[in-house]
């Protein structure tokens, strides 16, 4: 993605970076790199940012002029080979998930409607390496790309009042993890014992835009063991550098 995103004002303190409206891995990668590059270059005038699929927003500190900041951003953008100098490596995390009762509330329903076996659903769900497009909806909730259409399933007609933290769900062609207990309409196919959002630490969200994850099927006994390790602080998630 050689093309640069457009830059425009978004309210009193906001600046929007924008690519054409599309869910596309290449667009998202370029957007994430430009966003992290600008946020590192101008950290002293920025009060946070939000990344989504094809747009990201910067929020400036209250006393910073948007016009001047846009000018600085544009000038930085015009420097040659920006992304050549700024190559980010991605981390690939392995997320253990128990696809069994009592966690997999809706997996039988999906199996029946798709006319495939539960074990096949698990196989399809654990196969891809999913890019984390961004964190939204709930603190720490990863929007993942790349789920197989073979297991896509519409949201529940009426949402559950309470979905447990760690629940792994499917909504249409999307898959994601409930990072805290919440009402929700996604079809729940399993649960992970990990803690995806922890306000006690510097970076509360386990994942960030640009990371990758894969799911690993575990049985109930393993779930309980990992749950204990997470509680006592002795668990560390499997991760490696991903190109």
């Amino acid at each position: 993605m050689k093309k640069k995103p457009t830059i425009s004002q978004f309210g009193d303190h906001g600046i929007l970076l924008r690519y054409p409206e599309k869910i596309d891995h290449k667009i998202h990668k370029a957007l994430t790199q430009y966003t992290h590059f600008l946020s590192n270059s101008f950290s002293e005038i920025i009060d946070g940012f939000t990344i989504a699929y094809h747009e990201s927003a910067f929020y400036l500190k209250p006393d910073v002029s948007v016009d001047i900041a846009i000018e600085l951003f544009v000038r930085k953008f015009n420097e040659a080979n920006l992304l050549e100098e700024f190559k980010e490596s991605s981390t690939l995390y392995t997320v253990p998930v128990c696809y069994e009762a009592p966690f997999a509330l809706d997996i039988d329903e999906i199996a029946q409607s798709k006319n495939i076996s539960v074990s096949k659903i698990i196989k399809i769900h654990t196969k891809p390496i999913y890019p984390v497009y961004f964190i939204g909806f709930l603190p720490g909730f990863p929007y993942l790309g790349g789920m197989s259409k073979k297991i896509s399933h519409p949201r529940k007609a009426s949402p559950r009042v309470k979905v447990s933290s760690g629940s792994v769900g499917i909504a249409g062609t999307q898959t994601g993890i409930y990072s805290s207990e919440s009402p929700g309409g996604w079809n729940i196919i399993g649960r992970s014992p990990l803690n995806f959002f922890n306000t006690e630490i510097e970076n509360p969200s386990l994942f960030k835009a640009g990371d990758h994850i894969r799911f690993e099927s575990i049985d109930y006994a393993t779930y309980k063991n990992i749950e204990e390790e997470v509680k006592s602080g002795s668990y560390s998630i499997q991760k490696k550098t991903y190109k």
């Binding site: 009193d12 747009e55 805290s180």
Partner: protein, 283 residues
């Protein structure tokens, strides 16, 4: 220390919000009327902005164990300190063993109680602002103890160094920018959006303000994209929603307008229900 005798309808601790965690999906939060929040801090001569109590419709009843100074800003409520009516927007001396009753609102929506030194309740991600996702108990409750920073008041006379209180509350004219998806609307739809006289629907809360009397226009859903407090969303069914402080960080409805900070503060205090008028003015 202060004890909550009665919590009121929905009273919370708020400050400027948690700004730097948006990429992790954390809502901004913070006082709905930031102007009133800052004013409370100025009147108490705080060098740094400190947390305040925010309340709406019916305020809390509080018991003060020790002497201190307080100030009330934002919406105006019927307030009594030890049975005596007290004034708005000026520091008030509170003797030890006092009871403050903040009753029903009579002007605006969100009131603020600042205390000398500021509340020192627990901070989560660098902010004291209550948000239901981050705190299991996200509003004041009966019997709750509130602690604050002990400090001396520099000048017990009313200090005239005050930001003027703006004319809000009756006719609310909101300055807006075109939103990122404004151009999804036709010329005719834009005119309808900007020429309409709205009111604030009673279903509004700290996450979003629903506009009533919407024109018959709608906009398509978009691929999920960044939103912020003050983003005006138009839904496929024609609802017009202004996101407020507790809103999510991304959204899938068309972002047709974006309020200025000033407009957001004004809207938060705009009287609720038909008969009041709120309009958008493109800058």
């Amino acid at each position: 220390m202060i004890e909550v005798i009665h919590p009121g309808i929905h009273s919370t601790i708020q400050d400027a919000g948690r700004l730097s965690y948006r990429e992790q999906g954390v809502p901004v939060s913070g006082a709905m009327d930031q102007h009133a929040y800052i004013l409370a801090n100025h009147l108490l001569q705080h060098e740094e902005l400190a947390p305040v109590i925010e309340f709406t419709i019916n305020g809390p009843t509080l018991y003060f164990y020790a002497e201190t100074f307080i100030v009330l800003t934002g919406a105006e409520f019927h307030c009594k300190l030890n049975g005596k009516i007290i004034s708005h927007a000026s520091p008030i001396y509170v003797p030890a063993e006092s009871t403050l009753e903040i009753g029903h609102v009579f002007k605006g929506n969100y009131g603020y109680l600042g205390i000398l030194g500021g509340f020192s309740t627990e901070k989560i991600l660098n902010s004291s602002s209550f948000h239901p996702i981050l705190l299991p108990q996200a509003k004041l409750f009966k019997g709750m103890h509130l602690v604050y920073v002990k400090t001396k008041f520099k000048d017990t006379n009313f200090n005239a160094r005050v930001i003027p209180v703006h004319d809000k509350f009756c006719r609310t004219k909101m300055d807006v920018y075109p939103g990122p998806d404004f151009n999804l609307l036709s010329k005719e739809q834009k005119e309808k959006l900007l020429n309409q006289k709205y009111f604030v629907d009673p279903s509004s809360n700290r996450m979003a303000i629903q506009m009533g009397n919407t024109p018959e226009i709608s906009a398509p859903e978009i691929i999920t994209a960044p939103v912020q407090p003050g983003t005006v969303q138009l839904t496929p069914s024609g609802q017009l929603i202004v996101l407020m402080r507790d809103a999510q960080t991304t959204g899938g409805y068309s972002r047709v307008l974006q309020l200025t900070d000033y407009a957001m503060n004004s809207l938060s205090q705009c009287e609720i229900g038909e008969g009041y008028e709120a309009t958008f003015h493109l800058i």
